[in-house]
Structure formats: C-alpha cells, structure tokens
Subunit: 342 residues, 2 copies
C-alpha cells in the first residue's frame, strides 16, 4: 500500500476538488492510501457528501493554508502548521511516500525545499510539464513530450541541465513507461558547439552518459516532438510553454471570430478549433494529473491550481506510480552514472 | 537618388536572383540606383538576358564570394576582395548608402562588423525578423510583428536589450510606418521584477525612455501579437522563431497525412493548411524582403538565402526605405535619449 499526503486545502476548488478526487480514487482498485491534510472539521463535513472507502482515506489536521495570491515565503514562515507544510513533514517523516498539492506553486516549491533534502548532485529543483506534439511517444503512444524546467530554476548551470536530463529521463521512463526516453537539450542549433556556455558544457557531459541523449534540438523540434524529454532552463521553458498555449488560443480566437474571413478559413478554423480542443484535453493537466517537482529525496506532484476532482485523482495516481517505480532511486542512480551525486 | 550596394554573388540562387531582382526594380518608378557587386563577366552575361534600365544599375568588380557552407571568418580573412566585403566597403566609403546581401548570414554580420562602426552605445548588433501574429499592426494593418535579436547576439546584457528596443522601435516606425511602435521585453511574467537580471535592469531603464515601452510580454503574447516589437536575446529569439516555423510545419504535416483521423480533423486541417500557406506568404521573406542587421552606422539588410528575384527586389526596396527614413540617425537619437550612446 502506497500512502500519499494530499494538501487538501490547496487549489482553486478547495475541498470540492481534493476531497472528492481522493474519495473517488479510494473506491477504485488501486493500492493507495490518501492522507487528507487540512482543516479536519471542513474535510469531515465534505466527506459526508461523497462516497469513499474509509480504509483508504485518513484525515490529518493542519491549520490554515497558503492562498493562491499569498506571498509564499511570508505565509509559510508565519504559519508552519499550514496544510502544505504539514503534508510535506508527513512525507519527510515516512508517514507518506509522496506529496501532492494543487495549491500555490511557489509555496509547494518552498515547502519541498524547506522540508526535503535535495538529491546528491542537485543544486536546484525542476518543474516538468507535458505538452502536445505531432509525433507520439513510448509504448502507450502518448501524444505529448515532457519539458523541464518550466519555472522552478530561472537560469540553469551545466550541472543543473545535466541533473534535469537525468530527472526527466527517470520520470518519463516510469510515468510514460518509455524504456529509454530520448532526451535532448533545447538550443539554437543541433551542433554540439551551439548554445550558451552552460548548454555546450552540458552537451559534452551528457554525451556518453547512461541515458539516451539525443544531442541538441531546436525550436522546430518542439511542436514536432522529435524527442521524449526536452531540457532547458526555467526561463526558456516558461516562454516556450506559454507560447504553445498562445498558439492554441490564437487558433481558437480565429475560429470564434471568423467573420470577414474567407469561407475556407472560417470552416477550416472552426473545425480545427474542435480538433485542437480534443488534443488539448488529451494532454492537459485535468487528465494528466500535474507537473512533477523533481530534485528532492521525496516525490512531489504539483497539480494545476484549476484542478477539479478528476485532475486531483489523476495527480494522486501519477504520484503513486512515481513511488512504486522508485523515482528518487532511479534519479540517484542516474546522477551517479553521470558523475554527479557521488 | 539612393544608391544600394548589392552582394550579387550571395544566396542560393546566385545571379538569377540578384541580377534579375535588381533589373526588375530598375524598371520601376522608384528613386534607387543599385551597384551589383561581384564577378563582372558573369553579371554582364546575366544582364544580357534581362530587361533593365542601365541608368539605375552599375556593376562593381569583386573576386569570389563566401559560399553558404563556408566558414565565414576564414573565408573573409583569406579573401578581402570577396563580394560582400567589397559591397560593404562601397557603403563605408559613401559610394552606396546601404548593404544588401542574400549570402551567408555569418559572413554578412562579420563583413558589417569588420567594415562599419557600431553606433555609439551599441556593443553588439541585432538581427530582426518579422513573424505572423493574430493582431494587426500599424496603419497598413500588417499581420506581423518584429522580433529582435533573432541570432546575432546569443546572450544580451541590459545595455544590449535597451539598444535592441531602440533599434527595433526606429526600424518598425520607418519600415512599417507605425508612429510609436509598442515595444516590450520577452520575459517569464509581466511584472517588472520578472526575468533574468538583464531583463529586470533593461525594464527599469526603458521605463520612462523616449519610446512606447509596454513592459514585459510573455510567451502567450507572441502569437497573439500584443506589441509591435518584441525584444529578447538572440538565443531566445532563435528558439521562438524556429518554434513558430515548427508549428506551421506541424499543421501542414497533419493536413497532408490526415488518414486515420476523424473526418472533422481531416477537413479542418486541409482547409487550414491552405489558409496558413496564405498567411505565410503574406509574412515570409519572399515578400517582406529580409531581416535588418541593426547596430551599425550603415543600414544592412540580410535577405534570406533562399531569396528569388522578387525577394531581392523587395530587400532593396526595404533598404532604400531605411535609408530615406534615416534609420541610423533615428537610432542614434533614440539611444541618446535612453542615456546610451552619448
């Protein structure tokens, strides 16, 4: 039985998403126990309205939470018993094997760095996200690839990038079930000499490392999905990910506001709008369950703030998969084989 | 009469593009004289096959050229009389007012930095490119925005970014005829505190500068086209521009290879494929004429290597517009008002 600590107070939909998601999951045939961490009275009240398996759910008391608009550092310092910190301590102390939160992203990252140890060789954590690609990936034919970092570490050294590559490879191999995920550095050209000094050095260090390193990829390769895992610093990852969102938005806007355009455009855009929506749904956080925060000695899954019950349920499932696949052990081994973390 | 020095030997299509493009332009009602710089015998031979106005075209001799696959630095050092260097010297010495080349990009940048002076306050040049956007820009309702740098300066300091903002504003105002182009820094959030230290410092310096500074934009804003000029370092610009190309490629691939998909997807994609092609043609280098290389005391226009006659003709027209609008003077003034270049 894998135990997951869920920050029950985090996210835009609060208990309606967290309690309901955990309750739904408790009735499925999956070997997981969820600790709902938060306001006991409110959680118990919500539990009275849903069906769940009481052998698979427990409630752990915490006081208060970090709001989506709060300053993370300040709120955590002021309230060491808020839900995300209590949940993180349960994981640190071995009462749970992984942390899941749909709350304030900054607070989740800080709670993890305050409470967990960084893995040997890892200086900074990385947040990873999936995005839709033309090519499919792995035995499940996933229509998405993994990108990291997308926001935890603004500017990355060569060491950081090597760590991200190892962590992304381990995560993709466990969660997407790809035997040897193809990992590449995002750069301004495919030659090993291309890119910032950090990228050039990371390229040299990853060449010959014990992972399927595919060299550099360029901007062109992102929507195509040439590799399974794209590695970059958090600044670039943020811009790229938001750009992909922006492209979908634009196509949808064009489809909605198509008057004055040729009939061909109108019909094409309207139809593509529906298709894109479908593609989006296949890859979005609601189904996929969230973004892993990698680099700590405990698995952390950051579900999207807008998560509803199904997304929370999926995030718990992904966290369980990460625990059962020994994500942190795999990352440790990978780092050791790359000359980091020894 | 504005005189433009054209590297007649550069580009994938060689004289068939350069001589033909200049010849076509010589017969139009536009006050420009083109110096065709290169192998006199070959140029004269090509001129015998096209119609042109001999009062508007001259041939200037040069020996050899930098091939598209050659190492720029090596070739220029070995051959100081190659076409791009002779053309640049004509501009330096006042025999022509601007340089146009469809040749090796690296060689064009090096020829400019070897031959011209950098404008006061400019440490590194920037290559600017237009890309398609949802929103339209300026009085001509251009369906594209300008982005710089897209490849001349890999990593940019705050000074560099301020310089790029001033240069992009001046160029957009002259060539796209936008009175006060809205200029923004590309970052990972709109708040002034977001971004790398260079971006944060550039943001502070541009606030209150004598241009229409719109703060930071994010990845989302790129396809939408929230501003007229997007400023970033050459590494990021390269990734972003190639990503936009990649998105178009993917849509076209999906449209071509639509078997096995739902009818809705097939029809939508096929129709959108045509629409995208149309949009592309409106914004691509063939029509638009090329990317300006900014930062030198002489205007330089880099036409795409794949340019055919029409693209060369348009590149010469854009260079002429830059000269007649006093691009370098406008940039000098802009830099001075931002506290650079004094």
């Amino acid at each position: 039985m894998t135990t997951i600590a869920l920050d029950a107070m985090g996210g835009d939909h609060g208990l309606l998403a967290t309690v309901d998601g955990a309750a739904d999951l408790s009735r499925e045939d999956i070997d997981v126990h969820v600790l709902l961490v938060g306001d006991v009275r409110a959680i118990d009240e919500r539990l009275r309205h849903v069906r769940y398996d009481p052998r698979r759910l427990s409630v752990v008391s915490a006081n208060g939470a970090v709001g989506m608009g709060d300053s993370p550092r300040e709120t955590l310092d002021r309230n060491p018993d808020c839900s995300v910190l209590v949940a993180a301590r349960l994981v640190r102390d071995g009462d749970a094997a992984a942390l899941v939160s749909a709350g304030n992203t900054g607070a989740t990252i800080l709670a993890a760095s305050d409470t967990f140890q960084r893995l040997p060789g890892i200086r900074r954590g990385a947040l990873a996200a999936v995005y839709p690609t033309e090519l499919r990936h792995g035995p499940r034919q996933d229509p998405f690839a993994l990108m990291l970092d997308v926001g935890a570490t603004l500017s990355a050294s060569a060491d950081d990038l090597v760590g991200f590559a190892v962590m992304g490879s381990a995560y993709s191999s466990i969660v997407s079930e790809i035997l040897a995920p193809r990992v590449a550095l995002l750069s301004n050209g495919t030659e090993p000499s291309k890119g910032t000094p950090a990228i050039v050095e990371a390229h040299a260090r990853l060449t010959g490392a014990a992972l399927a390193f595919a060299g550099n990829v360029e901007g062109l390769d992102i929507p195509r999905g040439t590799v399974d895992v794209v590695v970059c610093d958090g600044f670039l990852g943020n811009v790229v990910l938001k750009m992909l969102e922006g492209v979908s938005d634009v196509v949808r806007n064009l489809a909605r506001d198509a008057s004055g355009r040729s009939l061909q455009w109108r019909v094409g855009l309207a139809m593509l709008g529906d298709g894109l929506k479908e593609l989006h749904e296949r890859t979005d956080w609601k189904r996929y369950g969230g973004a892993p925060l990698l680099g700590f000695d405990r698995p952390v899954l950051k579900a999207h703030g807008r998560s509803e019950a199904r997304a929370i349920r999926n995030a718990i499932k992904v966290a369980t998969k990460a625990v059962q696949g020994d994500l942190t052990g795999r990352i440790r081994d990978g780092l050791r084989s790359c000359g980091s973390g020894s």
